[in-house]
Amino acid sequence: MEFIICILAGILFATGVYNILQKQLLRIAIGTGLISHAAHLFILTMGKLKRGQPPIILEGITEYTDPLPHALILTSIVISFGVTSVVLVLAYRTVNENNTDNMEQLRGNEYE
């Protein structure tokens, strides 16, 4: 199963990157979302899957799943939420100010 999740993470990375390479701002925002999902799954798999019980200490249970990736991902989820919201609002302001969401037209004046 771990390998399947690895492949899944790879696919999410690939689709995320593909979206980021597009011209439209919304697609780029979506791409960043996909990449963060991919990264979470990637980290989760590193602790191996389904070994033992959820990491909440109970009497009589000795095997727990690896809690460290969970902690890391938890931090990451919150941060990526922050990033996504800033990206979205930044995109919103950009579109508002420039009346375009096409990245090729947002290259700055220097090289036009």
Partner: protein, 778 residues
Amino acid sequence: MIFAVLAPLLVAFFVPLVSRFKSSFHTGIFVFFVPFAIFVYFLQFIGPNFTPLKQTYNWIPSLHINFDLYLDGLSLLFVLLISGIGSLVVLYSIYYLDRSERLGQFYVYLLMFMAAMLGIVLSDNVFVLYTFWELTSISSFLLIGYWHFKERSRYGALKSMLITVFGGLSMLGGFILLSVVADTTSIQAMIAKSDYILSNDYLPLILAFILLGAFTKSAQFPFHIWLPDAMEAPTPVSAYLHSATMVKAGLYLIARFSPIFSSYEWFFIIVSIFGIITLCWGSYMAVRQTDLKAILAFSTISQLGMIMAMLGFGTNIAIFAAVFHILNHATFKGSLFMIAGIIDLQTGTRDIRKLGKLFTLLPITGTLALFGTFSMAGVPIPFLNGFYSKELFFESTLALQNGTLSITSFLTTVIPYLAVIGSIFTFVYSMYLFFGLFGRNKNNEVSLPKQPKEAPIGMLISPSILVIGVIIIGLMPNLFNQNFLAHAAASINPTAGIDAISFWHGLTPAFLMSLIVVVIGTILALTRTKWNTVYDLLPGRFSFNTIYDQSVKSIDTFSSKMTNFYMNGSLRTYMILIITTTFIVSFVYMYYTDGFTIDFSDLAKITTLEIVVVVAIVVAAIGTIFSNHNVAAILILGITGYGVAILFVLYRAPDLALTQLVIETITVTLFLLCFYHFPKLTKRNESKKTVATNLFVSIGFGVLMTMIGISALSSSWFDKISEYFIETSLPIGGGKNIVNVILVDMRGIDTLFEIAVLGLAGLAVFSLIKLRKNKGAK
């Protein structure tokens, strides 16, 4: 001693403060006491019984970089030159620089330079020496560009910086090699190990690197081109940096390291050749110049070449003569620069063609110049110091030892002739300089921008002191010998030195050489206008400046082309570059280290439920690419998020699943709120090439990440550290939910910063939405 090095820097902090009162109190008066105090402090070391002094201060002991100060005869000579000439230059600058100039900056740079220079000559650690070395390049850059509104100043500053820093960097390379080979960073310790260094295979490389540093700094041919352009600096700076001290740092370096290398024959060959060529070329070119300071610049180049050559000879007389001439050159050239500054200020021009007949107008200046130029020319008069060292130079060229290489014997025959030729031109430009300024002018119609009158007395003090030095050394050359110069020479070569310097040796070959120089020199000086056309043949239009200008220009165009190539403003290009680079580097590394492994044992079981979720996520993820509708795309993105949440549940991560569900809901809401303002997603009409590139890059990256994941799972290099958290969660953290304990307890600061990041993100979102440039406009 450390205070001596750091005092100028410390005082420099107060200079801006003092310079506020410059209208009533010239900043230079305040600054003057620094070099003067240092000079007086170091005077106490002069004496026949001087022994080297060593002090150590820890700086970066783990890298063997210590602030080791070492004062021996050679250092003492330089320290006294730096502080002595420094005092005089500051004194001179008080009258030279008007109070309307930016005095604060000028003196800060000057003090910075002084500290750096003292640091070079006193430090025993090669890396400390290097640090100060570069500091002199920087302060020289700042001082040359002091009048930064002048195009030529900026050009000269940049040129000197590029050339000397280039040399400095190569010198650093030499130092690193040397310290690795000798396993020490102390110069004195290296000297003790010189046999070992000489037998090392890296010796030629070390020598080449260090010599490159010394040659660029001391303006040796063909790196001399920066020095004439550096004359754009204010004249006190030219007198100080570009004649008496900084350009001698290269000589100091050679002298300092010659105990290590002197028995290596190529050291003699290279240093002598460069020195003697520089001597000839510099003096030859000096006659051609018309700018007063350019003549002096080329003359400095040629004198530096002469000292360099003597350091290369390495014989007892040569070393002593080199040390002696360093002192002499500082006295007469320093005074000549100051005189040039006086003439520039008093007449308003530095063009020697416009000047002439100044002796009656500037009698004191003229007298000083007479001594300076005649000493520089090496005219055999017993009260001019230049003659003594020049005579010793001739003597040393005749007493060169033959080596094993045939080029050495060739050099020993040729060098005396070249020395004479170089000295003839030295004589010619000295006369050209003096009679051009003070003698009869051919053009009777001399129209000067200003009506010249004698300079203020304050301006004449410094050159007078230097000229008095010329005469005192000339009259009593032995005054400094045993007390001072002998120690300096002995620290370069323990056997160097001579018993007594005397004016008259009898009719020796060296004296005959001097006579030849004077006779031919006089003839050439008188007929200068007749043979002037020779400069059209050599160098003609060719110049090393052209090479410099061309290379700087081509580097400029190349780098701007390079930058424009990848900095084209397109996000897509940047992403492709970043990802492709990551891909190539990781993939190549994985391939060469055989990093990809796959191991099917110890895997979790595959269940149908999981497969269904995975397939759903995959379909949704690919769906985001093809969806052409805003809402649809956002909802599909939501599906992947919720899918991931389900996976979290399946993989027994309750906290994650909860957080993911909450966050995903908020994110989707946020997307939907924003989507209203976005233009509709449009169908893409991209070329096939673009699509193919995008596909290639993204699939490549996905494959790479998968491979890394699988390899990481299939190999176990380290034990997991999670056991620690599981065991200590309850006893140390006092919590049963291990993930929570990790977050708020064991990695509490992480979480704190995470909150801070989120807070900042919130502020950013708020300000992006709310704040407008002009209020009311929405």
